[in-house]
């Protein structure tokens, strides 16, 4: 597997750039990934979504369904795509250091 280096720290990632271990996540990981997911700068809105995803994941062990994400954060799906152009799965989950969504994608 590949490694990326952020501030001298090594992070193991898969071929799509997702962190393999969500526990190793730090805020700089999100900052590191944001460019390739089409985000110039992480705003408060971005952090709100990222924190929500991480809280949900560590409480329930899975990523929330999209409808749940929208309801709980107050952003519409359109709003989420404005924040994360590659969407809640490839964009937001990746920045939040969550495992890669699987299944019939």
């Amino acid at each position: 597997m590949a490694f990326i280096e952020i501030n001298g720290q090594q992070f193991e990632v898969d071929e799509d750039g997702f962190l393999l271990n969500p526990d190793t996540w730090i805020e700089d990981v999100a900052k590191y990934f944001c460019k390739e997911e089409g985000i110039d700068e992480l705003t408060e809105d971005h952090w709100k979504v990222i924190k929500y995803l991480r809280d949900y994941f560590f409480q329930f062990g899975i990523a929330p369904m999209v409808r749940k994400l929208c309801k709980d954060t107050g952003y519409s799906l359109k709003g989420i795509y404005e924040l994360f152009p590659t969407g809640p799965a490839k964009g937001a989950c990746k920045l939040a250091g969550l495992p890669k969504p699987t299944g019939c994608v």
Partner: protein, 400 residues
């Protein structure tokens, strides 16, 4: 170019009369290294009797949450040119009618950035471009969507509305009761957001057939199956019926005795149909195309719940709306409102990875029907329930 590898197992499949996919891949491999490596990895899979793709893959284009299926080889050191081999779904034109210009320009882009291999078409209907690298995906999308003539958009993938598809329809079939092509195109445009941005518990598919022959297998392969039908009388051309019989056609053996409701009769001179008892199975019309035609009061039956076995077992769609008028150019408002209500209920109540048919199975038809504001009717069931475990709504019971 890497040295061409030996493929003795695959070479066997160049023999025989059917068009050989091995020949096709070899044609592409003659000037494309990723096709060459694909052939090599496939030969290895034939030897090992197992797939050599890694689990999953998540790639895409800006603004969309689906449309591209990421794929990585698990033996990239042997086949470096297919280390990434992503699939792009392009939304096909209704009924798969193309002109050569439309096809040529896609081929030009795909030769440049992809493997040159395609699947025409994926089972859902999309034009499938097989095999490209992550760095080309956005470029391919930008180019195909900016064609001056016949631009193309991505199809669906993920937990969203998948690419709707339809039969050849009125473009070349005299049985088409609705304009399947127009309806498919209209719904695709109307629900672009649902198609490109996954937001639902799981996938949802729409397929549209012009008549109950169901040439796109909508009843088995879509959550929402729309099938053309009619509700007045079958049109009979008696002269043409007599011609069939005069020509030696065994009308009693082939038609009369095969009618599932026995509502058709032939007295040697005149064909009669008891239309009130006809279930519009199409058999007599299929057998005597020159003599029988569907009626003039046309629309569609909507069936719901079709899906493959995972998790709760395979389901075929069952009737939810026996007849709905769907005239082309009408805007299809009634249908769209119906679909929105169905999806809203499913999105609100569905568990992760729960198809519509499974949710109805779990929560029951009575909850589903109440949510989409439809009355239960006999046409929705094959037979009444055989057990007595019936739930009443609280307001239907007398509370002491």
């Amino acid at each position: 170019m890497t040295e061409t590898k030996k493929t003795p197992l695959l070479d066997e499949l160049e023999k025989g009369p059917w068009p050989s996919f091995v020949k096709e891949i070899k044609k592409a491999a003659a000037h494309n290294i990723s096709s060459q490596d694909l052939l090599g990895q496939l030969e290895l899979s034939y030897e090992d009797k197992k797939a050599h793709w890694k689990h999953g893959g998540l790639v895409g284009v800006m603004g969309y949450g689906g449309g591209v299926i990421g794929r990585y080889s698990d033996v990239p050191e042997q086949f470096p040119n297919i280390e990434m081999f992503h699939t792009i779904r392009l939304n096909q034109p209704s009924g798969w009618y193309y002109n050569t210009k439309a096809l040529r320009q896609v081929c030009d882009v795909w030769e440049k950035y992809g493997s040159g291999l395609t699947n025409l078409h994926g089972a859902t209907g999309d034009m499938v471009l097989l095999g490209t690298k992550t760095e080309y995906i956005q470029t391919i999308f930008d180019e195909v969507s900016n064609f001056e003539e016949h631009p193309m958009d991505l199809g669906g993938s993920g937990s969203n509305l998948r690419t709707p598809s339809c039969c050849a329809g009125p473009a070349r079939c005299e049985f088409a009761m609705i304009d399947t092509l127009d309806l498919c195109h209209d719904l695709t445009n109307e629900f672009q957001d649902y198609l490109h941005r996954p937001m639902w518990p799981y996938k949802s598919k729409i397929k549209i057939s012009g008549c109950p022959n169901d040439c796109v297998a909508s009843i088995a392969r879509s959550d929402i199956s729309i099938q053309g039908t009619w509700r007045d009388d079958i049109k009979i051309n008696q002269e043409a019926v007599r011609e069939y019989v005069a020509g030696g056609f065994d009308i009693n053996g082939m038609v009369i005795s095969k009618c599932p409701t026995k509502c058709i009769a032939w007295d040697g001179n005149e064909l009669t149909i008891d239309n009130a008892n006809c279930t519009r199975c199409m058999h007599c019309i299929n057998k005597m195309t020159k003599a029988l035609r569907p009626g003039d009061d046309r629309g569609a039956t909507i069936l719901i719940g079709g899906k493959a076995p995972i998790l709760q077992g395979a389901m075929m769609g069952w009737v939810i709306v026996p007849f709905m008028k769907l005239e082309s150019g009408s805007g299809y408002e009634e249908l769209k409102e119906f679909l929105e209500k169905v999806w809203e209920w499913w999105d609100e109540n569905g568990k992760t990875r729960e198809r519509l048919g499974e949710l109805i199975l779990r929560l029951g038809m009575r909850n589903f029907l109440r949510a989409i504001e439809l009355e239960p009717i006999p046409q929705m069931v094959m037979a009444p329930r055989a057990n007595p475990f019936f739930f009443w709504w609280p307001e239907e019971t007398v509370q002491d």
